[in-house]
């Protein structure tokens, strides 16, 4: 199959790559770029484990082709870390509230929460639930995840703009 070349930004870095048009964005990120933080749960758009930010908006990488990302900016869970690789505010709050167990849904949860907090640092419970409503977690029952997002929001507010 003939390959197509694309250019995109991933976690702030410019990338150029060539791939078969049928390669999913999820497989591209994991297998070609080596960013394995984004997980594979269903490949049919329901579980949210593959969530990434696409030009700042949360999307499901399993439902997009890599070639569709040409010219766009992507953030994966790895991109939520600080420059030095340490945990960002949201990631820190997830640790303090133990907002996970097996960690498999966690990158997707973080991405959805990041998308929420980017424009709303004082979300209501309903807004938090809506933000992560498309992310399935089998382990936690969501309670500590919600608490983690509330903790992150509070810390972000306290830190100020």
């Amino acid at each position: 199959m003939s390959k197509r070349e694309i250019s995109l930004s991933i976690n702030g870095k410019a990338h150029t790559a060539a791939m078969e048009p049928r390669l999913s964005l999820l497989d591209f990120l994991r297998d070609e770029v080596g960013l394995t933080g984004t997980h594979v749960g269903c490949e049919h758009g329901v579980c949210g484990a593959c969530s990434i930010l696409f030009d700042g908006a949360p999307i499901r990488a399993c439902l997009m082709l890599a070639v569709q990302a040409d010219g766009h900016a992507i953030t994966t869970v790895e991109g939520l870390c600080n420059e030095d690789g340490s945990a960002g505010t949201l990631q820190d709050a997830f640790q303090d509230a133990h907002g996970m167990q097996c960690g498999y849904c966690t990158p997707g949860m973080l991405i959805s929460a990041q998308a929420l907090l980017a424009h709303n640092s004082d979300p209501s419970l309903a807004e938090i639930k809506d933000a992560i409503g498309g992310n399935l977690c089998r382990c936690t029952g969501y309670v500590q995840i919600i608490e983690a997002i509330q903790l992150a929001a509070r810390r972000l507010r306290e830190a100020g703009p």
């Binding site: 078969e20 049928r22 390669l23 994991r30 297998d31 080596g34 960013l35 394995t36 933080g37 984004t38 997980h39 594979v40 749960g41 269903c42 490949e43 049919h44 329901v46 579980c47 484990a49 994966t76 869970v77 790895e78 870390c81 690789g85 945990a87 990631q91 820190d92 997830f94 640790q95 303090d96 509230a97 133990h98 996970m100 167990q101 097996c102 960690g103 498999y104 849904c105 966690t106 990158p107 973080l110 419970l125 639930k129 992560i132 409503g133 498309g134 992310n135 399935l136 977690c137 089998r138 382990c139 936690t140 029952g141 969501y142 309670v143 500590q144 995840i145 919600i146």
Partner: protein, 804 residues
């Protein structure tokens, strides 16, 4: 939280790390996206496998033509069941059923829709899937047997004709004077309850990667596997000596709760990697996982008869459990045996008759699921208690209070032989009621009803057996004299004095590394954050079984405590020798050992480590140099075969929970909304509060799923209807209420720090509690349901069309 003084195991100790709110060490890698799941492991030149599922529930395979698939560019191999069966043994089943042959790929016949009939290995998964479409299979479809009751009676439609019957196991147990108790009781009732086929459905499917190394003759396996002991199955199936296989356990497992066993998957990649002399990996896609990934749970019909007094005290139970094991039983029948350890729940029931039947049908094979059969049994017991209350016109809560084992009766032996270690059931129930604000909740329900809404409160008081010893196998098969299910660890102190703990299992979300480090830190008085935890592979690990049965806090906790004691003993012996003081005069504090009577006479941790590694002349005579300890921990309170009445201690520890949910039902659609949920929980000493709380609430959410939504459904032809997340409905955040939770601590006298199991508890009670709430809501209409899941269309039909 400050350092709490807990009466841990009766020791009354001041705890510094145990029971304190501390971060969970595993979380750090997960938030950074640097966890190492099997799908993240990349070996050079890895080839990718994909499997072809059978479209029929029962069919003869007349021929398979894979010529076109094999010829496709990038395909390395196409393998069928016939070819593979020539080179490997059938997978060993739990019970000895020699005429049931289970192979990784179907041979001659398919026995459920989704069974794997061929596997392709290609340069990548895309090409492998292209090739699947080119395989031509000629099937002769046959009539399947789908209904378990039909399967039980059936003589013609047999899932395994060579076995001669669909019955895999049929046993009768009698504990106590059931006939006498029934004759003496004021009243009795019968009840049929049904637990639907669902499972744990981790968000990560099963995956395995294998590499055969010709130079060392070692087959390396990385897999999302929970069970270290399954290398034994792998070895017998492949026909290799056990020490040719190395299962890597430093792999993060994306959830398991019992199901991540992956034996056929691991056999396949192991076999293929040796054939192809390259690494081969198989990552199930979601549809393959749901239909044929060997991950379905119990599917059970109970017929229960209860004898009780006029005031609601239950005297005796007759239970018949018919379980649908699917096409290949594996360890499924044993899920009927574990509940024997808590067959009367938390109640003072005097005698029990238990008939347990496991049948084969043309559905996916059943595997162990969270609680190993206890969740359906608890559901049945709680439904029975509610039925007794309703029958007598008594309050459900009051009936429970009259039946709960009193706190001064522990250790309490139940008719089937278990001795419950400790408990304070009335107090925990009251804590739950207080947390739920039960009086206000009653008012809320009643005012909702007054406004014409369907509202209900659920109550369930359930047990969670923890730390099992596997003797239940013997109850079903007296040739299986298995009386231990040990757990071990090794602790090394290095020349710098730093500590490394080595465990022999993977972790799949329970925070075992944190548990292990916390207990080592507590015992050695060293900050757990300075302790490293690693996972030994199956060749280097000490004897270990697996994180099943809510056992790691009990078992790894016990092993860690034992190893830490040996480390301390060694340090004390070195100090005693060098300080020329008897050990009794010495005191250990944070690694430094000093004379109680003269604090200036001391040896620091660094000095002790130097002596251990470098100064042989300063070691007590006969002591080996170096500084490490191993401890293999036997399940406490077990180790015996059953007595002549089949009474035996299977599990040492019994955690307890009281669940109180509040629901409302939309009469138009039958939709149940769980609006509130209170749970009071007692698992003895909590090692890490955040971990326990997470598992309690997560298990409870899983139980809400099993009660209301989740189902692996089949139609009459045996077609599988729940292959995607759009059909198998796992609760999202919108289906889970705000849970209020409270802990109570009745320490276990049998464990290192008073801890009990906690990984299953929420799940073991929530389905019963939700069913109780739904039935409470339906009661004003004179309706009830007894079959899980209580999906909305069933409730809607019941409300609008009436029963039947």
């Amino acid at each position: 939280m400050t350092a709490a003084t807990l009466d841990a195991g009766g020791a009354g100790r001041n705890l510094h790390y145990v029971a304190q709110k501390r971060r969970v060490r595993e979380d750090r890698r997960f938030v950074a996206g640097t966890g190492k799941f099997v799908q993240d492991i990349a070996l050079p030149d890895t080839k990718h496998a994909a499997v072809l599922p059978s479209p029929y529930s029962r069919a003869r395979i007349l021929s398979i033509d894979s010529t076109a698939a094999a010829a496709l560019d990038g395909v390395h191999m196409v393998l069928t069941g016939q070819q593979m069966a020539e080179d490997c043994n059938p997978i060993r089943l739990g019970l000895k059923l020699p005429d049931i042959k289970w192979y990784p790929l179907a041979v001659d016949m398919t026995r459920y829709a989704g069974e794997w009939v061929a596997i392709v290995v290609a340069d990548n998964a895309y090409i492998a899937e292209d090739a699947l479409e080119l395989i031509q299979v000629d099937y002769e479809p046959l009539a399947p047997v789908i209904d378990p009751e039909q399967a039980f009676d059936e003589t013609d439609l047999l899932v395994h004709p060579d076995h001669g019957s669909n019955v895999l196991y049929h046993g009768n147990f009698l504990w106590g004077d059931v006939v006498g108790d029934f004759a003496a009781a004021d009243d009795s009732l019968t009840l049929r309850t049904r637990w639907g086929r669902s499972s744990t459905v981790p968000i990560e499917t099963f995956g395995a990667l294998a590499r055969w190394d010709e130079g060392t003759e070692i087959l390396d396996i990385w897999a999302s596997i929970q069970m270290p002991n399954f290398v034994e199955l792998l070895a017998t199936t492949l026909g290799y000596p056990l020490n040719n296989i190395r299962l890597h356990q430093d792999v993060d497992v994306g959830g398991s709760y019992g199901v991540k066993r992956g034996i056929k998957q691991s056999v396949l990649v192991g076999y293929l990697s040796r054939k192809l002399k390259r690494p081969v990996r198989l990552i199930e896609d979601r549809l393959v996982n749901m239909a044929g990934g060997d991950a379905h749970g119990p599917d059970r019909i109970f017929d229960t008869e209860a004898a009780f007094s006029r005031d609601g005290v239950i005297k005796s139970l007759k239970i018949r459990a018919l379980d649908d094991a699917g096409a290949y039983p594996g360890r499924a029948p044993f899920q009927l045996a574990k509940p024997i350890s808590a067959i009367v729940g938390p109640y003072t029931i005097n005698s029990v008759k238990y008939e347990a039947i496991s049948v084969a049908t043309n559905k996916t094979g059943q595997v162990p699921v969270r609680g190993f059969g206890q969740a359906p049994t608890n559901y049945m017991i709680e439904m029975t208690v509610d039925a007794v209350a309703r029958h007598l016109g008594l309050d459900r809560l009051e009936v429970r209070r009259r039946n709960l084992i009193p706190s001064d009766a522990f250790p309490y032996q139940i008719p089937s032989g278990s001795s419950y270690d400790s408990g304070d059931y009335q107090v925990v129930l009251q804590k739950g009621l207080d947390l739920a604000r039960y009086d206000e909740l009653l008012q809320r329900r009643d005012s909702a009803r007054a406004e014409g809404r369907l509202a209900g409160i659920g109550i369930a008081t359930c047990l969670e057996p923890g730390g099992g010893n596997n003797i239940f196998e013997y109850l079903m098969d007296p040739t299986a004299e298995i009386t231990t299910f040990m757990e071990a660890c090794e602790v090394k102190v290095d020349p710098q004095g730093k500590i490394t703990g080595m465990m022999g299992t993977t972790t799949s979300g329970q925070g075992h590394e944190t548990l292990f480090a916390t207990i080592l830190g507590e015992e050695l008085q060293i900050d757990p954050d300075e302790i490293r935890i690693v996972h030994a592979d199956s060749l280097t690990a000490l004897p270990t079984r697996s994180p099943v049965a809510s056992r790691m806090a009990i078992m790894l906790g016990g092993a860690a405590t034992g190893a830490a004691a040996k480390i301390k003993d060694r340090a004390m012996a070195i100090a005693a020798f060098n300080l020329e003081r008897p050990v009794e005069d010495l005191e250990y504090a944070g690694g430094t050992i000093s004379d109680r009577n003269d604090a200036s006479r001391k040896l620091t941790w660094a000095e002790i480590c130097f002596i251990a590694y470098r100064a042989y002349h300063k070691l007590p005579p006969g002591m080996e140099p170096g500084f490490h300890a191993q401890h293999v921990f036997q399940v406490p309170g077990g180790g015996q075969l059953p007595d002549a009445q089949n009474r035996v201690q299977i599990y040492p520890c019994f955690s307890f929970q009281a669940h109180i949910p509040y629901v409302e039902i939309d009469p138009g659609t039958g939709k149940v909304s769980v609006l509130d949920y209170a749970i009071a929980h007692d698992c003895g000493t909590v090692i890490n509060p955040d971990i326990v709380r997470g598992m309690v609430i997560g298990g409870l959410a899983h139980g809400i799923g099993a009660a209301l939504y989740e189902q692996f459904a089949y139609d009459e032809e045996g077609q599988f209807l729940s292959a995607s997340f759009a059909d198998y409905l796992m609760p999202s955040v919108h289906e889970i209420p705000d849970v209020k939770d409270v802990e109570h601590c009745t320490p276990s006298p049998l464990t290192s720090h008073g801890q009990k199991g906690s990984g299953e508890g929420g799940y073991l009670g929530a389905p019963a509690a939700i069913a109780s709430a739904v039935n409470d809501a339906l009661q004003p209409m004179g309706l009830s349901l007894s079959e899980l899941p209580m999906r909305m269309h069933k409730i809607e039909a019941l409300i609008n069309d009436g029963p039947g």
